[in-house]
């Protein structure tokens, strides 16, 4: 699915009566991405996470236009089309097992319990997540294992647009290889955008990459 972004603006207002200034996180970002993997690089604070959250419909843009498949896409439409894997893998219910978490978030995305479990098992295998870890309570998992669960949550939706924010964070070598293979496989039919501070991993995963600087796309490397 073709994703077209024109002049995207996102401003976070300062907290009321704080005396602070609003933060212009996206200052007219424009990009195009189609089926395949597009990397988005940039320094800390350059706007990568804000860009991804806006493209996922988690945040509402303050300006600019997003089109998906040639049609204008508002935040509600983007939430239907895109799955977002955040850079922090802790947005789960800690007292529930990884499998129960995936079952719950699967239901929010419209999956049946059987579908969610099936997909979780298949993806766990690809990402080298063991069955006992899948059944373990989430707060007992290591940070890297949490990241695998977070990736499974995003991949299992099988969306037309997949936004992976620092997907390699905390993963061991085997899981990184598994993830690279999975991204390559999925990207044949999916528009995948990913960020990574590792140039090697970014180069391995993405056929082209964009550089974000101060909320704007500052360059592209094929």
């Amino acid at each position: 699915m073709k994703l077209e972004v024109r002049g995207l603006v996102k401003i976070f207002p300062a907290p009321p009566f704080s005396g602070g200034a609003p933060l212009r996180a996206l200052a007219g970002a424009s990009l195009e991405a189609g089926t395949g993997v597009t990397g988005v690089g940039g320094a800390n604070g350059s706007g990568k996470t804000t860009l991804f959250k806006t493209l996922a419909g988690v945040l509402e843009a303050d300006g600019g236009e997003i089109r998906a498949g040639g049609e204008p896409a508002d935040s509600a439409r983007l939430r239907e089309l895109a799955a977002y894997c955040p850079p922090n893998p802790r947005s789960f219910y800690f007292r529930l097992s990884a499998a129960e978490n995936l079952r719950f978030f699967g239901a929010l995305a419209g999956l049946t319990a059987a579908q969610a479990l099936d997909r979780a098992l298949h993806l766990a295998d690809r990402l080298k997540l063991s069955r006992p870890d899948l059944e373990r309570r989430f707060d007992r998992l290591s940070e890297g294992t949490m990241q695998k669960v977070s990736l499974i949550r995003a991949f299992s939706r099988r969306p037309p647009i997949l936004l992976l924010d620092e997907p390699f964070h905390g993963l061991d070598g085997l899981a990184c290889t598994g993830l690279l293979e999975l991204i390559a496989e999925v990207s044949r039919a999916t528009t995948v955008l990913l960020t990574s501070h590792s140039r090697e991993l970014m180069a391995s995963a993405a056929h082209r990459s964009l550089r974000l600087d101060a909320g704007r796309i500052a360059g592209e490397r094929a």
Partner: protein
């Protein structure tokens, strides 16, 4: 929708069950409340106060019924804000709202577990009321009571959703919850009939849906009043629902949208 509600109930049940002591204490609290009823009953027995005459019942039966009823409908008022706050602090709200989940299904499912547990408590109260305290409602008009129950529960759920808007926007500091927690019991006729209040407090009491809900429920249960006899109270509750329900859904949608704009969905 049913699958979604079931998913929320399963999640909340598993989560509550994992805190074993708290889960057990929660169930025990239901029994402890029964002890309070027992001592109220021993103290006041079958005494009749003039303010209770319209209801045709003694103080114990009045307060037992009102507290059990208020306990259930109060679930709607408190649980939305509570659940939302919990999602904020555990960092799951943003993840849940990154999905295609709509506002209406979210509101329908969010407090389902709380209502289920409140139903369990209500059944325990009803059973204890009948078996331990020998409370009977020979004149009860059950269909009318059920109608009052449904109207009241919807009305309080709407208030609870509006209260959750404050949590969505301000995270902490919820003036509506403060009013609901501190004044509904006092001014709504839960612990005593509102006729016992001075005229100026009675005027305030008439602005609260709980006043109409408790009075209508008591009349239906103790006097067997039908819709015709409770027309005023039922119309008031219907009017509250007509205004509050759409307003609550609209305001909640607006506050989620505002949080998406300001980027505060993930804040607590």
């Amino acid at each position: 929708m049913i699958r979604l509600i079931a998913a929320f109930i399963r999640r909340d049940f598993l989560s509550e069950k994992s805190y074993r002591l708290s889960f057990a204490l929660g169930a025990l609290a239901t029994l402890a409340n029964l002890a309070v009823f027992y001592y109220i009953g021993s103290l006041f027995g079958g005494q009749l106060a003039p303010e209770l005459e319209p209801f045709g019942t003694d103080y114990f039966t009045y307060v037992f019924t009102a507290l059990a009823f208020f306990g259930y409908i109060g679930t709607g008022a408190g649980s939305y804000a509570g659940r939302l706050r919990q999602e904020q602090t555990q960092g799951t709200l943003e993840a849940a709202l990154s999905t295609p989940l709509g506002i209406l299904p979210l509101l329908a499912a969010m407090s389902a577990w709380n209502f289920l547990f409140a139903t369990f408590e209500l059944l325990v109260y009803a059973l204890a009321g009948a078996v331990v305290f020998g409370i009977r409602f020979p004149a009860a008009n059950w269909p009318a009571a059920l109608l009052v129950f449904a109207l009241s529960a919807a009305c309080f759920a709407a208030l609870g959703i509006i209260s959750a808007c404050f949590v969505m926007l301000f995270k902490r500091g919820n003036p509506l919850a403060w009013v609901l927690n501190n004044f509904e019991g006092l001014l709504g006729g839960v612990y005593f009939p509102v006729a016992a209040l001075p005229w100026w407090l009675l005027a305030v009491s008439n602005l609260l849906p709980v006043t109409y809900a408790v009075r209508a429920f008591q009349l239906a249960l103790n006097r067997g009043a039908g819709p015709a006899e409770m027309k005023g109270d039922l119309l008031a509750l219907a009017a509250f629902n007509l205004v509050l329900l759409p307003a609550a859904v609209w305001l909640f949608g607006l506050s989620v949208r505002r949080s998406r704009r300001t980027g505060t969905l993930g804040e607590y």
